[in-house]
Amino acid sequence: MATEGLQENETLASLKNEAESLKGKLEEERAKLHDVERECGRRARRPGRFVMKTRRTLKGHGNKVLCMDWCKDKRRIVSSSQDGKVIVWDSFTTNKEHAVTMPCTWVMACAYAPSGCAIACGEAFLVKKSVAMHTNYLSACSFTNSDMQILTASGDGTCALWDVESGQLLQSFHGHGADVLCLDLAPSETGNTFVSGGCDKKAMVWDMRSGQCIQSFETHDSDINSVRYYPSGDAFASGSDDATCRLYDLRADREVAIYSKESIIFGASSVDFSLSGRLLFAGYNDYTINVWDVLKGSRVSILFGHENRVSTLRVSPDGTAFCSGSWDHTLREGWNRILLEK
């Protein structure tokens, strides 16, 4: 009926208005805490110019590399690819230790278990156990602090926490308005939270026990492809299709830095911090990796080498190296070789 249709529209419009005004109020509340311009970078010493080169290239995948993770032993790496394979590499020798073929092709997610004895990928474990069930694609996964629980993010808009042994769903996290593309667990000292990023341009911080969203941030202009906690757990960085990376301060509850340049117009697919949190490494769809000075907001270095999009990037657990995976079918490791003048 015509009148019912009108009421339906009014309710939608009034909901939208309410949302806008609440967002405005939230901004006001956050702005009250903004008592200094971001000065913390000004007096920081500039890091010396340095050079990074690809030291190892891991070849073996037959198609785009979509995801990678380091083992806690700081040596082994797991990677997954559109060729349906998951490979475990020894990063020192570049030898392949294991290769598993998955029943599907786009293996978008893979993660090393804390014990180093198992890996999770796509929808199954290395021991061929099916754990997580989402109604749409799995975009990211991470073990929690033990091999016993796994956190997943999905194209169905939710994240979920699973018990590995029983395959049981322990908690689900609803709140994103579109596909969730990435997640990262808070460093264990900071408690049971994790952050997720999605196609709704939102980054959301969750309490793992209650399933509640604690904080959310909507400052990006496009999909958030990658989120990573800052080493102390008090902040996190994000990389987005809007070609920027951003830093969010969790205690001040706001975005505090944007890492961007006019010349960078392609999306950032993957971000990670160096050990101290001073540097932010970001892989982009224009095949490069940009290294940002987290405090000053400026770019410290730009790394070339990949011949297609950089899809995944992780700094090793002890911070001595980082590894990037690309649509060019390879993984490359780099580290600091020469420290030039300070």
């Binding site: 949302a19 200094v36 970078g41 890091p47 709140g175 001040a252 001073r278």
Partner: protein, 69 residues
């Protein structure tokens, strides 16, 4: 699931979340920003990607060639 929700349901979910967040406790940036900077400065000396690694300790260094004499 987000994909199954109507626009109205999505908006309601967003509203509920926003109402909660407006009440969150927040700290001053002058304090939190300073703490982030202090954390970085305390760890920078240990950051291998910033200060470099001496070649002899580098597990990734290229293996030298051998010469047979």
């Amino acid at each position: 699931m987000a994909q199954d929700m109507t626009e109205k349901e999505l908006l309601k979910m967003e509203l509920d979340q926003l109402k909660k967040e407006v009440k969150n406790e927040r700290q001053m940036i002058s304090k939190t920003g300073k703490e982030i900077k202090e954390y970085i400065e305390s760890m920078v000396g240990e950051d291998p990607l910033l200060k470099g690694i001496p070649e002899d300790k580098n597990p990734f260094k290229e293996k030298g060639g051998c010469t047979i004499s």
